[in-house]
Symmetry: C2
Subunit: 396 residues, 2 copies
């Protein structure tokens, strides 16, 4: 866990704290330039350990979703200490950034558009384990052409890209729309030069965030039954379908125990955000009992009136698509609004003064991480490591 | 308007299109790696010309708000072709990035926290025209200490930082809370070693987005009257108060015609977003009649069912704090939802196929720009320039 100050976005050989990086290793937290992403390393490590144990108990593989944190350092820790078999991400450019930084097994758990991107994916498959999803024969044709072209260019006849069928199991986003369509697509992949049919992607994003355990269970039971039916139909058509992958932090215990899923794609478990903390199990706990290990550290820049403070973390430092961030550790304080560069805080007990730091728990960690260039890892009040957000901005 | 491929975030001497940059100069738009920020250069230039003419007609200086675009290239065009006297921004790190890239006159139109940041600001004042706001004597003391310390270190006794009083004129965010407080703070600045009292900042952010012209007028009349009263009281206390700065794209015509404001801080006028397009003048037009010159270019990655398409621009490519993006130029199509890496589109006329590009008008341009590393400037269907988002992620 050492600082990596030489990753490719900082050309300067000596990054300048406060300009290029938010802190130096060894600094007390009070010296971190805010707003900054803070990782409580003790809580983060406990989260990795908890998920490793739970995936093992469920008997499923963990494929950690790196779209959440976009960090090669964190991905590698998830694959070592955290027991993950590999990672997934959503974009070819993310996969490129992670592979360049040494992550060897990546599933692009999404569809991709265009010949140029397919070619980039084929090149990635030359260098590491890569898989991608498809939900339409047009994508399969594009991927196949890209791999066969690379075979011809490089003379490597063995080059093969793993392609999974993505089915719509309830999310109404991407995914095949019927069992018959899934079977036909699996056959198309199986018959396409350069491609290998590698299983079923069945991810129900919306179900992750159904707070009520009974409602979530109902939604997932339908989804899991449809997934099992699709898998069985593909097998009945004569294809192996050994890998069924999906699930996330809010639902992994249910899909993981179903006997249908072989792999779970949780991401937020490592950090936890305010929205996942609202999701409840039948026992009244949060799924997996993960801790908040991730904060946006803000500073008070103005105390304009009694009971009010203004922080320096706005929309460009913390995502609000899943609600306002939650002020942590300041009794009575709450975020009441966020604009581009400011967050308004109510502070009825008058605890906040000019320059004071406040930890904010983001409503949604994924788009919050993508706003920053660095994670500041802290333990015992000091900065222990700086990790680049390796794939920050890699959205294409 | 040439590509600047060597700015400090790309260490590679030959940035790779699709990985480091979204396109090459000369490419047809169809080859741009999506999602990407697109500037329609013709419309953008017309917006600059329109604002130059309107500010001149109002008899006020234009200080373009660079927090919107965070681009040194665009800031410089606003100061040359666009007639701006300088720019403003919200963060010391933004000012550093813009000054490093050659922008010579910058107002940090915000309060700042802490001694470290004050020292950085003092260093910036050594190298160019810099001003900052304050709303509390504590900030004034911190700024004064920083400048006097720099004077001692460098032997440059003339080093002076311009500080404006920020008053709350209705926004309930930062700003002094009464005329008496403003006067006292102006005197404190005037008496602080190393600082020069440089005028009044009076910005009413919320008023920019009041769609109804009569309601907006009422809100601004109150705000302008309070601003005039504050200015007059500062003058009555024996201080010059020649600069009154504020206003934005939704309201500049009103503050600009008030006789109170000397400088307007519009930013979004250069690009226009979907939310500003909802603001109406009494004549039923939008303030300033600016055109949409700015888009997030997305591609269709999935056509999962009749009348539906899924694009590759999600929350990490387009901000949704001011509503969903608006699909542009595809008859009948509309964005119905946005998740981390996807946007769902309804497409009742079935116009969208796999790989097709769609232009999206973001609800809010500022936080959208901050998500990307590059602007792709297009004219006549081809990429004419690539501009780095110079201060992308400079939130501290």
């Amino acid at each position: 866990m050492t600082a990596n100050l030489h990753q490719d976005r900082t050309a300067s050989p000596a990054p300048e704290p406060g300009y290029d990086v938010p802190a130096r290793v060894g600094d007390p937290v009070s010296q971190v330039a805010t707003p900054a992403l803070l990782i409580d390393l003790d809580a983060f490590e406990r989260n990795l350990d908890r998920m490793r144990a739970q995936a093992a108990a469920l008997g499923v593989a963990l494929r950690a979703h790196a779209k959440m944190h976009k960090s090669a350092d964190i991905a590698k820790l998830q694959m070592t200490r955290g027991g993950a078999v590999g990672v997934c991400c959503q974009k070819v450019s993310e996969a490129e950034a992670l592979q360049r930084a040494g992550v060897g097994d990546i599933l692009v758990s999404n569809e991709i558009a265009g010949a140029a991107r397919a070619e980039r994916l084929a090149r990635l498959a030359e260098r590491g384990r890569i898989a991608v999803c498809a939900d339409h024969p047009g994508q399969v044709a594009t991927l196949s052409r890209a791999v066969t072209a690379r075979r011809a260019e490089t003379g490597s006849d063995g080059l093969t890209l793993d392609v999974l069928v993505e089915m719509d199991c309830g999310g109404r986003r991407c995914g095949t729309g019927s069992v018959a369509e899934s079977v036909a697509l699996a056959k198309a992949i199986d018959g396409a030069p350069g491609l290998r049919f590698a299983g079923l992607q069945s991810y129900f994003g919306r179900a992750q965030h159904i707070y009520d355990p009974a409602e979530r269970r109902v939604a997932l039971d339908i989804s899991i039954a449809l997934t099992a039916e699709t898998r069985d139909a593909i097998r009945a058509a004569g294809l192996a379908c050994d890998r069924v992958t999906g699930a996330g932090t809010g639902s992994f215990a249910i899909e993981g125990a179903s006997g249908v899923y072989t792999e779970i794609q949780a991401g937020s478990y490592a950090f936890m955000d305010a929205d996942y903390a609202r999701v409840r199990t039948p026992e009244g706990t949060t799924p997996g009992s993960f801790e908040h290990a991730f904060f946006v550290l803000a500073s008070v820049i103005s105390v304009p009136g009694p009971g009010r403070a203004v922080g320096d973390a706005g929309l460009k430092a913390v995502a609000v698509d899943s609600g306002l961030p939650v002020a942590h550790g300041v009794p009575g304080a709450a975020v009441t609004g966020v604009s581009d560069e400011h967050c308004n805080l109510s502070d009825p007990q008058g605890r906040l003064g000019l320059g004071d730091q406040v930890r904010l728990i983001p409503g949604h960690c994924d788009p919050t991480c993508n706003l920053h260039d660095w994670y500041v890892g802290v333990r015992n009040g000091r900065v222990e490591c700086l990790w680049p957000v390796t794939a920050r901005g890699k959205v294409f």
